[in-house]
């Protein structure tokens, strides 16, 4: 029997804008190819929380979607902070990245409280930061994706960005050349839903951390067939990355 890894997909009903399910698919397929058995828990408002959690994936939503989930997210805040401190790997894109910080002040309406997993806060602005983006990450090298957000995020002392961006009006807030945030094994980023397929190093980081935490060490045992599939996926990702890096914003 393959070793099970429990993955929570957080609020897929309201927070799954533009391709966030691609991240889940990537984790699921790669875990299988490495010889593990992924179990996916789709967690929406008022669902019961799974008994065991090895990884948490969350996506983006519209302002409206964020309002829908906020009460439930606050209810789960302490639990998620606890998991983060234990080292459970998490990936939060866009809307949930914002709500994993301390607060989000939208351009209209009330301030939404965050759950303080990441030391950051977000302010809604008129200007939308939007377009193809490549960032330089100390840990992962070039990270390739697409950003689309009007909330501008500011990192607090002690919180590292996921990467650095070169151009003004890109990244967390358009001015300080940071993008995303990292605390423990929690990654928050504005890079859209297709982040993991084109950035398999980040997918493998999340997978390795999840397996280490649950089973002590990560010893992938892919079959010969799985190895060739992994190689093919990585080659395709390389080509897709190369094209994406040349495209206009």
């Amino acid at each position: 029997m393959a070793e099970v890894i429990d993955i929570v997909s957080l609020y897929p009903k309201d927070m799954n804008i533009y391709g966030d399910s691609g991240n889940l698919l990537t984790i699921e397929r790669r875990l299988r190819l490495y010889g593990y058995e992924p179990t996916i828990h789709h967690y929406n408002q008022d669902d019961s929380w799974p008994d065991h959690v090895d990884m948490v994936l969350g996506g983006g939503g519209q302002d409206e979607g964020q309002r829908k989930i906020i009460r439930d997210l606050c209810k789960r805040g302490e639990l998620l902070r606890g998991l983060a401190h234990q080292g459970v790997p998490m990936l939060m894109i866009c809307g949930l990245y914002q709500l994993f910080g301390e607060y989000f002040q939208p351009i209209e309406g009330d301030r939404l409280p965050g759950i303080c997993v990441l030391g950051a806060h977000t302010i809604g602005e008129k200007l939308r930061l939007i377009g193809n983006l490549v960032e330089h990450s100390q840990r992962f090298g070039s990270v390739v994706g697409y950003e689309n957000h009007s909330g501008q995020t500011f990192l607090h002392e002690g919180t590292k960005p996921l990467g650095e961006v070169d151009a003004p009006n890109t990244g967390n807030n358009g001015s300080d050349h940071t993008e995303g945030a990292m605390n423990d094994n929690v990654i928050g980023t504005y890079m859209h839903g297709s982040l993991l397929p084109k950035n398999p190093d980040i997918a493998d980081f999340l997978i390795a951390k999840a397996v280490e935490l649950r089973y002590g060490s990560f010893n992938p045992q892919p079959t010969q067939k799985a190895l060739s599939e992994l190689k093919r996926l990585d080659t395709l990702a390389q080509h897709a990355r190369a094209v994406a890096m040349r495209r206009p914003r």
């Binding site: 897929p12 533009y18 391709g19 297709s194 084109k198």
Partner: protein
């Protein structure tokens, strides 16, 4: 205001149009752009002559085909229709098309205009010309890189509803569209097109697109916050859920190469020459607005006598718009072009066209008109292509597509970013097997041009 040189505008515009065609400028934007600059009132002044007014069609998906259906049905019923050619759904495209249609004095020979306009340009348009009818189809996750959020796109269409003088026709099944009934001004009527409950499973909305939600019974709960039609609203107690507004036309069922509609209380069946379930839903939209136009037609006109049967007969003759399920004959082999622009459109296209017996090619570009963000491909499930595989993947973002297909374990025969090379190989292998090409907007234009160099393709009117 009419400038002193307004009398020269038709001649000037026609001149520029002729020149730009000679220079093989191709697109229809230039003459419209020039005329918009020297005579900003040309559009409003010219369209104001139409006794039947303007029917404006907007929404994220299906504008071109629906506009074609509305225009063709009205024409079959005896009206003289002015419409903008495929793809020129910006105001300057409408101006360019008008230049073709007016005489040297600026007079236009038509009873009614049926115009498709992109969501953003529709707002620009209604500030110049208030349409008599607005048909608002849907708001989907298309071009989020242009409009930011889906809710913003809905706001743009709300502005269209606020400026419509006669009747606003809304999609009852799209919560963001049906909610626009609140925006309709006093004195303007509201009508709906919709789906019979059994048909709703074919059209999951964007908010419920995620695969774990697909079988959720609460799928359409959101709709209950929509404002009802007049009749429905008066029936409801203030604190009760608003009952579903009644629709003029609903799509009630699918039959082979046809559909069953409920119109004016009768259930009627017709054959269609259009492919894809979404086009049948668009047909319900077209029939609704046509019905409302006919109700207002002068009682001595041929159109005023039309009934549901006459409308359906006219619908049965409508052919697909170019690139939207259009079939090109390539030396005896049918090559079908299917435009895909957003996740829901691609999902519906995959559900509508059986891959068996066809070679499949996918061409994905990321130019401005396609949308630069490729994330949407991850919201489409491609598992239905596992059995046949995809012969060739092409376009600027071919590798993104190939990666996506591999994650769904769909075999890809070849990946070639250059569409000319890819197309040649695709057509050469297996020459007698019918072909199907799914393509984004600019990819579709490119593929169509490439095929036209190899065989005869009908003039698209661009």
């Amino acid at each position: 205001m009419e400038p002193w040189y307004a009398f020269m505008i038709p001649a000037l515009g026609k001149g520029i149009r002729a020149l730009s065609r000679l220079a093989r400028h191709g697109g229809s934007a230039l003459p419209g752009k020039v005329i918009e600059a020297c005579d900003p009132d040309f559009l409003a002044r010219t369209l104001a002559q139409l006794p039947g007014g303007v029917v404006l069609v907007s929404g994220t998906n299906g504008k071109t085909t629906t506009t074609r259906m509305v225009a063709s049905i009205l024409e079959s019923l005896g009206m003289r229709v002015f419409t903008n050619p495929t793809g020129s759904n910006f105001t300057r495209g409408v101006v360019s098309a008008l230049l073709d249609k007016v005489d040297m004095k600026g007079a236009i020979d038509a009873d009614i205009a049926v115009l498709e306009l992109d969501e953003a340009y529709a707002v620009h348009f209604v500030h110049q010309v208030e349409p008599k009818y607005a048909l608002l189809l849907n708001v989907m996750r298309d071009q989020l890189d242009r409009f930011g959020e889906i809710d913003n796109t809905a706001k743009l269409l709300g502005e269209v509803a606020r400026h419509t003088t006669g009747t606003v026709v809304l999609n009852r099944e799209d919560p963001r569209i049906s909610a626009l009934s609140r925006e309709i001004p006093i004195g303007t009527q509201c009508a709906y097109f919709g789906l019979a409950p059994a048909m709703r499973k074919y059209f999951p909305d964007d908010d419920n697109m995620h695969y774990d939600n697909m079988h959720d019974d609460s799928m359409h709960d959101d709709k209950t916050d929509a404002h009802g039609s007049e009749e429905a609203a008066t029936l409801a107690e203030p604190d009760q859920m608003t009952p579903e507004p009644s629709a003029d036309v609903t799509l009630d069922g699918l039959v082979d190469h046809g559909a069953i509609f409920r119109m004016d209380g009768a259930t009627l069946q017709t054959t269609v020459r259009l492919e894809g379930v979404y086009n049948l839903f668009n047909a319900a939209a077209a029939l609704t607005v046509v019905g409302r136009v006919i109700r207002n037609a002068p009682s001595d006109s041929k159109a005023s006598a039309a009934d549901a049967h006459a409308m359906l007969k006219a619908l049965s003759h409508v052919t697909p718009a170019f690139g939207r399920g259009e079939v090109i004959d390539f030396h005896g082999t049918p090559v079908e072009l299917v435009l895909v622009k957003n996740p829901m459109g691609f999902r519906l296209a995959l559900a509508s066209f059986d891959p068996a017996g066809h070679d499949t090619m996918i061409v994905i570009n990321d130019d401005f008109a396609d949308g630069r963000d490729m994330s949407w491909l991850w919201d489409v499930e491609f598992t239905t292509l596992r059995q046949t595989g995809v012969a060739v993947v092409s376009g600027v973002r071919a590798w993104d597509m190939a990666l996506r297909l591999d994650y769904d374990q769909v075999h890809v025969g070849a990946t070639e970013t250059n569409p000319a090379t890819a197309l040649e190989a695709f057509l050469a292998v297996n020459p007698s097997q019918p072909k199907r090409i799914f393509c984004t907007y600019t990819a579709m234009l490119k593929v169509r041009t490439l095929i036209s160099h190899l065989t005869k393709v009908a003039d698209a009117g661009l």
